[in-house]
């Protein structure tokens, strides 16, 4: 039942601490190579059955080249990147993102694999502010998703709290 999509931790990740992070630090990137199977899975898991995301003919009537990746799936990838990075003792407090460009999935080659990896998307981020708020040790971050051309079609912001070594 585990998806063939790349990324995702498998437990026992090393914990990062607030003291070790500086403004300007990069968030560990997370790469995804979405295929049409991933979109069908997301449709079922989220309940978004808009045919724009799985039916080629319909997508073309909507002036797309074909089915497009769900915005909310891209949002979920950005949250995954953040959760993987802050570790189990970190907290995601605030998250926002905007979708400004369409992304297309690869088509399937067989039951599990897609035909190519010509549409990789890389989730990225950077720490913009390090501060203490009440009893929380916070970081503000810019987050975004880059396509193969280096364009950022999805952009957002997040606030996380990290543990201290104490």
């Amino acid at each position: 039942m585990i998806s063939n999509i790349t990324g995702g931790k498998k437990g026992n990740m090393t914990q990062i601490y607030w003291e070790d992070i500086e403004e300007g630090n990069e968030i560990t990137p997370l790469e995804k190579k979405p295929n049409t199977q991933n979109l069908v899975k997301w449709a079922g898991a989220s309940g978004d059955f808009n045919p724009l995301h799985y039916e080629d003919t319909f997508a073309k009537t909507q002036r797309m080249e074909g089915p497009i990746v769900h915005g909310q799936l891209k949002r979920a990838w950005l949250t995954q990147m953040l959760i993987d990075w802050i570790g189990e003792d970190g907290d995601l407090l605030k998250f926002s993102c905007q979708f400004r460009a369409m992304d297309y999935p690869c088509v399937m080659k067989d039951l599990f694999e897609s035909t190519g990896d010509d549409h990789p998307l890389i989730c990225k981020g950077k720490v913009t502010k390090k501060y203490t708020d009440a009893d929380k040790n916070c970081l503000n971050c810019d987050i975004w998703i880059e396509n193969a051309k280096g364009e950022s079609g999805t952009i957002g912001k997040a606030t996380v709290a990290l543990p201290i070594k104490g």
Partner: protein
Amino acid sequence: MLPEKLEKLIGQIGETGMFEVEKGAIKRYADAVGDRNPLYWDDEYARNSRYGAMIAPPGFFGWPTQWKTTMPFFSEFREKLINASMEEGFDKLLDGGSEYDFMQPIRAGDILASMPKIIAIIEREGKSGVMLFSTLETTFINQHGVKVAKYRQTIIHRK
């Protein structure tokens, strides 16, 4: 000037929805994302974590996350806003972004009440004419009466 019909919608509260955050739904969501975090997959691992139980990935408040195509008979509150803006000629809709406040963890088995509210409808002059920015805020409260999250979705309405 914002048309009166739209002005009147600001501050309106929609019907409360109830969502059970099922374990299977969490796994299917994590699978679709391609996320192998054991907190969403492994009961024993999650029990021994600081959460004490399996949790839901941030942004998952139970299935479905979108009503429109799963239960079209369910009168979605957002539709009211969209229909009212369409009647005023704003028939092109764009996703203006999503925003979340995560206050408390959501655990498998939690029952969440979702309470939607139209918190803003703002008129702005854009290059292609007047646009509306509407924001729907949904507050999620768990079975213990604790506010666990807020989700704000902004829609851009154009003519």
